[in-house]
Amino acid sequence: MEYKVKIDAFEGPLDLLLHLIKTLEIDIYDIPVAEITDQYLDFIHNMQKLELNVASEYLVMAATLIAMKSRMLLPKPEVYDEAADEPYEDPEETRQTLMQQLLEYRQYKEAAQSLRSGESERLLLFSKQPEDLSEFEREDVTAIPKSERATVHDMMRAFQRMLIRKKLETPLDTKIDRQVLPIGQQMNRVLEDLKRARHPLRFDLLFTKKDRAHIIVTFLALLELMKKDAVFCEQDRNFADIFVSLGKGAALLDTGENAFNY
């Protein structure tokens, strides 16, 4: 199986399992524990090799799968020892539970998909602000039942929307702002820094400014360079410093002024 998809493309271990079930054309009502466990672990190992941070939820699921797989290889005990530290867990039950969990998750995932299409359609429709007709309104606010009153939350929301609206009132300026730091330019800068240094640079040294846009763009630039094999990252062990080096692809990369038109 190819690892075109990375762990961050998944919403969690259940999502990853559903993906495996789909690509391996497994019957979700009859999951082959050994096979799915192997594939799952394989996936996680590869992610770790790629030095992508694998969240703890994925590891917990890995442990559950391994436990289930190994119990299935063992004969069922004839007498259950209720007093044992770890009471016997019937692997078949675990398998059923997992199946139900996957089925339940899958139906919400499908529901989410249909919401997504509703959202996309709705996001294309625009309206004006309502006219202020309040001078015609006559009401005693305190007579309004509590359930029908605006809340502090409503007020904060109105306030937020106002701030965003004001920002949007100068849309052309905002657009120019956004272009100040194109990813392509930042990719060039990272490459130049590395070439000038002639040795690997510590990951955090590449982030020269502390503002959010700069950090995000630099990070995306690094990802892009990794994808193009122009740089690679190394880390000796967990939590150690990450070092970025020039890769094979660096020489082939066109670093002309407009090379990266993002």
Binding site: E11, G12, P13, L14, D15, Y29, A55, E57, M61, M99, Q100, Q101, L103, E104, Y105, R106, Q107, Y108, K109, E110, A111, A112, S114, L115, R116, G118, E119, S120, E121, R122, L123, L124, L125, F126, S127, K128, Q129, P130, E131, L133, H153, R157, Q160, R161, I164, R165, K167, L168, P171, L172
Partner: protein, 198 residues
Amino acid sequence: MTPEKMRSIIEGLLYLTGEEGLLLDQISKVLSDCPVRDITDTIEKMKADFENDDACGLMVADLPNGYRLTTKPFMAGYAEKFAAIPKSSPLSQASLETVAIVAYKQPVSRITIDEIRGVKSERALQTLMVRGLIKEVGRAEGAGRAILYGVTSTFLDYFGLHSLDEMPPLIEAVKQPNEQLDAYDLFYDKYKETVNNL
């Protein structure tokens, strides 16, 4: 009142209320001497006329129990620069899954959502609260008195739904146990009840 006059008044009201939208109920209060049936007929006619007229940039969109005047979808590119109402970026996948679970299972606690998704959903819940798509609807019994969440009417509007009934039914009720089916029915009843209270 002539049908033309009725139509012109409705159009005017739709214009005035803009983003907020106009409830059928409000229209019939303003047009107190017109049968509701005539009002809805007029609006349906208006909808069709707007849609079929290429020289018209507006359309009438449905709301739960009401209507809203919006620009046509093709206008989106032009509209973004001028709309006074900020358009938010689409929800992340995490938020989307979370709000789907809230919509079907409300009232529901964070822990239940975490269990279904197999990952923590705190951040997604926070985003959904801020966007006004979900709200606290109560507290669970028992020790933690966990917060229970439900969807808001903004939720319906955001996803272009008229009511929760329009959400696709969750059919994949797990094979076998009867128990589960009962639970499903029970949940469905509860959900209907919540829907009606929206």
